[in-house]
Symmetry: C2
Subunit: 252 residues, 2 copies
């Protein structure tokens, strides 16, 4: 499992991913799931990967190789004229990798699948954010659906839905994502720190900030310890329930 | 889908379930998933059901029929000497129902399965709470794991983990469960109101309170509207994040 979030804000894009990869609870390891390609001043493209690690690494390596040799750059994510076309290239690359292995007889559901979050900006257009499905097709974030999650999405979703605000600062966005990750990490062993976070400020055409947050990070400790207390306070602030009738009603 | 919670408190047991049943998003209906058998003054046994509706209704009907005719009461959930034996009877009944249909060739994973939460008390022993798996085996709640969820468990789990307290009042427990249900209902169309709630006070040997909470219930409205604001307040109360370095680090 994995947990990744891509947020679209008025100010730009924010990405966060965990670093745990596992093949069973007895075989865990750490891997970076955030990859960026950029031509400073012209484009920034960031990819978050969730799913089969062999698949996601192959996708990233193919995209990488094809953007390095200039003669192979057509089509390449460093040359494509729009984020939509980059999403198509990434989706096609994912399909290509999955198609290589899928027909060989594995029976588990979509064992070679991966779900990708792609975001970035090319000079002349707005920052855009996409969710690419294992089949290679994709959807784009909008004002109605301004963020994407992949991997273990459920535990951390309620706080995103309630506290996300398109006007929020990058600092608040990182705080929000850390709360969402904290709820997930507490519930699923297959999601864990350290976390990689990246911020891209609209129209900057260069990565604004990127850092790795470890379990021992004092701020993460404040969030994980403080959130329990803050939640209990929020819970206590709600009005008290009263039973409808003092006498016990008959059960069926 | 479905969502059910059974909580074990120092004061007794609290159960809550939604009432939505569906066979696809285009075929939804309402059904009660909470069933109680009692011999007032001697035992109370409550069952929450999640899973295939034909299976859960068959299990409840078989348990019901077998507890009505005194000559069929051995073994019956109204005669068994312990909650452990009742859990065994319920699990065996579930296996019996699933076994009837499962070998006929359905290919989906466990299409006749159901997961049950069983709680109650028999005079002479403590209140006990069990989670019964589709295979008919079961686990019991303990001080370390004092509540069970079934169905769509993930969205509503973080608040239970953070705010549950074995010493809490029944009113607080219902409030907590409503918050957990609200997060779930907002995220999954296959969980919906009205909600059935039942409270059993330890050593009372009769259902203490039971009621159905509708979407129009003023208290539920207070919770669903107030929780968003309370969460945002909790979020704002956490310290602000600061990026580690002002200058943008290089991406890979």
């Amino acid at each position: 499992m994995t947990y990744c979030i891509g947020l679209r804000l008025k100010k730009g894009l924010v990405f966060m991913s965990d670093t745990r990869t596992n093949a069973g609870v007895d075989d865990i390891s750490q891997v970076c799931k955030l990859k960026t390609w950029q031509k400073p001043g012209e484009r920034v493209v960031t990819l978050l990967t969730a799913g089969n690690l062999a698949t996601t690494q192959a996708v990233v390596s193919l995209l990488d190789e094809r953007s390095k040799a200039p003669e192979d750059r057509s089509p390449s994510i460093l040359e494509a004229p729009s984020m939509f076309q980059i999403a198509s290239i990434v989706g096609d690359t994912l399909r290509e990798v999955v198609k290589t292995y899928a027909p060989d007889g594995q029976e588990a559901a979509s064992p070679f699948g991966a779900t990708l979050i792609l975001g970035g900006q090319i000079k002349g257009s707005e920052p855009r954010l996409f969710l690419i499905y294992p089949e290679g097709n994709f959807i784009e974030a909008s004002d109605d659906a301004p963020f994407f999650q992949s991997g273990e999405t459920k535990y951390g979703r309620p706080i995103l839905v309630r506290a996300y605000d398109p006007e929020m600062s990058f600092e608040d966005a990182v705080k929000l994502m850390l709360v969402s990750f904290d709820s997930t990490i507490r519930a699923n062993l297959a999601v864990d720190l350290p976390l990689d976070v990246q911020v891209y400020e609209a129209d900057s055409f260069v990565v604004t900030a990127q850092q790795r947050i470890h379990r021992t990070d004092p701020y993460f400790q404040q969030i994980t310890n403080g959130w329990g207390e803050a939640l209990r306070g929020a819970f206590q602030s709600l009005p008290d329930f009263q039973f409808a009738s003092p006498e016990p009603p008959k059960p069926e």
